[in-house]
């Protein structure tokens, strides 16, 4: 309970789901051997953290930022460029993080102080503008960033697939650098997620909720809401940058598509809404569900489509053609918002309170 910050899942189904996701991720290398499942698991870890940090803004503070991928990108590029330019060592990872995190914090502070004292919509517009400018900059400065191609780089030897922790296997799985990398990602994401959970359940976090509920009254009680919102913005940026650094380490690559693109921003929004805003736990479920769908829905549809085709059904094969997967994802999204307006977590907790 200490570690959960006193914020229990408050629903049996939710507890079971969270435990299932946690166990699946904790033992992913052994439960789902193979490189694709491990990729999916690592992506779920990283996005659960990224989405949780976004929830600090959207769900807890009530402000809409479009710059979250920028901070994710700063973390990614920080580590990527340090490793690319100065060689694959742990020192360079640390250096990349030590450059990226302060940069993210300073930018978030500047954006916050500049725009959060005005209306919330102004903040959203400023984040959109700054993030767009940053994305353009990253692709224009190709001598530094590799432009649209991005940068592929080597990671420290301990994290390379060829590295073996020891000879032999555990449960039939060789403990190579990939597994080590995965656990680095998993543990870092878990620790940072628990830190976020602690922050939202602290006195500071409760003031954020109060500000979301009624900024006017929060101000009248003596809270400086600009300072609170700006601090939340800085914390969210720091965590997003950390998630970005982990993403770069995992992928051995950073480019606009994997760290800065607007489609990642949309993914984050979808995940936080599906999971349930203002709950933190929603980020975990939203990320798990969405990334699983992203990776396996297409394959599932492909098999449905070909099965229907061989059964001679009309229309169905076309409807379930793998190329239509985004359409189905969209339909799933609309249905989930329609039936779970408070997200999965909100819905489960509602049921628990009624029961």
């Amino acid at each position: 309970m200490m570690i959960l910050s006193g914020d229990k899942p408050r629903s049996l189904v939710l507890s079971v789901l969270l435990a299932a996701v946690f166990l699946a991720l904790a033992f992913a290398p052994f439960l789902f051997p193979g490189s694709k499942p491990l990729n999916v698991a690592a992506k779920i870890c990283i996005f659960a953290l990224l989405v949780a940090s976004y929830d600090l803004l959207l769900g807890y503070t009530g402000i809409v930022s479009f710059a979250h991928t920028m901070f994710f990108g700063i973390g990614s590029y920080g580590v990527a460029l340090a490793l690319f330019n100065y060689g694959p060592s742990w020192t360079m990872i640390v250096l990349g993080v030590l450059i990226a995190l302060p940069l993210a914090a300073v930018l978030a502070l500047a954006i916050g102080l500049f725009s959060l004292r005005v209306q919330a919509i102004f903040f959203s517009m400023v984040t959109l503008a700054v993030a767009s400018a940053f994305a353009v900059l990253a692709s224009q400065l190709s001598w530094l960033t590799g432009g649209e191609d991005g940068r592929s780089f080597q990671v420290p030897p301990a994290l390379r697939p060829g590295n073996r922790l020891f000879e032999g296997e555990i449960f039939g799985v060789a403990l190579n650098g990939r597994v080590v990398s995965y656990y680095l990602v998993f543990v870092a994401c878990l620790v940072l997620f628990l830190l976020l959970l602690r922050i939202v359940n602290s006195p500071f976090g409760r003031v954020l909720l109060a500000i979301r509920e009624n900024p006017f009254r929060a101000e009248a009680l003596g809270y400086r809401i600009v300072v609170h919102r700006t601090l939340a913005n800085v914390i969210a940026a720091l965590i997003a940058a950390a998630a970005g650094a982990l993403n770069a380490i995992w992928l051995h690559y950073t480019g606009p598509e994997t760290s800065l693109s607007f489609s990642i921003m949309l993914d984050i929004l979808v995940m936080v809404v599906i999971g349930g805003m203002g709950t933190m736990y929603g980020a975990v479920l939203g990320a798990a569900l969405y990334i699983l769908a992203q990776n396996y829905l297409q394959a599932l549809m492909g098999s449905v489509s070909s099965a229907a085709a061989s059964a001679g059904l009309p229309l169905v094969p076309g409807l379930f053609h793998p190329d239509r997967w985004l359409l189905w994802l969209g339909i799933l999204f609309i249905l989930s918002v329609r039936f779970f307006p408070t997200g999965i977590v909100g819905r489960l907790r509602q049921r628990a309170t009624k029961a």
Binding site: R198, I199, N201, A210, N214, R217, E219, A220, L221, G222
Partner: protein, 267 residues
């Protein structure tokens, strides 16, 4: 505490004052050059018809609105340019006319947020909120004072109107301010709920160090509680004095109380 009327303001006693306080909305002057000083231990009732500028006057004092001209002085400090948050920290407490709560948080959490604000626990991030038993203990005490203890775990939005009014006042009490500003605290309350609030205001009066401002339409309430009445009309301060005197004055009788002069002064 020293606080007898006529006492000159010193740094030791609470002193609130507005000088030529004015706000214009476009061409409309909602508060017009109001100069008035308030002393500790004194409950001042502010009366006047709807739209007279009473709430706007409060908003100028507690910082929800910025003055177009004039000054707000508190304990010798000019607060005119200060945001509402910093005025609250200086000790200006406000309960709003239109109930103004954190609707999806519980009654207990609403009060606890006020306690937390006044104790300066603004940025503590690594301790668990629900583990701060000092905040909870104090919040429970306030809940008792406004007779909301049994409703502690209900969402503020789910309260009856009367209970919401009590919570509104409870949040101000929790701030432990030096100045209490009540804006029609009993409006819309059922008759049996009113005494709790009136007793509470009366008990605040007994602490001679507090300044209490009360906007109230019910004349019997004003008569029983006020040490002084000021009358606002079209944003101007048109009368100021002891209750009997102000209530009996022709201008109040005719324009604001709508009662026959004999009746009011006899009461």
């Amino acid at each position: 505490m020293a606080g007898s009327s006529g006492h000159s303001p010193s740094s030791m006693t609470t002193h609130l004052e507005t000088r030529d306080l004015t706000i214009r909305f476009g061409g409309h002057v909602a508060v017009d050059s109001v100069t008035c000083a308030f002393r500790p231990g004194e409950l001042t009732a502010i009366v006047g018809p709807n739209g007279a500028g009473k709430t706007t006057y409060f908003n100028l004092i507690s910082g929800q609105l910025r003055a177009s001209a004039g000054k707000v002085l508190f304990n010798g400090e000019d607060l005119t340019r200060l945001p509402a948050s910093l005025r609250a920290r200086r000790g200006l407490g406000r309960a709003f006319q239109l109930t103004n709560l954190f609707p999806n948080l519980t009654v207990g959490e609403n009060i606890r947020l006020a306690v937390q604000a006044t104790r300066g626990v603004h940025y503590e991030m690594l301790r668990v909120w629900s583990g701060r038993s000092d905040l909870i203990t104090r919040a429970d005490a306030v809940l008792g004072e406004v007779a909301l203890a049994p409703r502690r775990n209900v969402a503020a939005a789910a309260l009856s109107h009367g209970d919401q009014r009590k919570l509104e006042v409870g949040m101000m009490l929790a701030l432990e301010p030096a100045v209490f500003m009540f804006d029609e605290p009993t409006a819309g309350m059922s008759v049996d709920e009113v005494p709790v609030l009136l007793d509470l205001i009366a008990s605040l009066k007994r602490d001679r160090s507090k300044i209490i401002l009360l906007v109230e339409h019910k004349m019997d309430v004003v008569r029983s509680l006020a040490d002084r009445i000021i009358v606002l009309h079209n944003g101007r301060l048109v009368a100021d004095g002891a209750p009997a005197e102000v209530i009996a004055s022709p201008i109040v009788q005719e324009a604001y109380l709508g009662a026959a002069p004999g009746k009011a002064s006899a009461a």
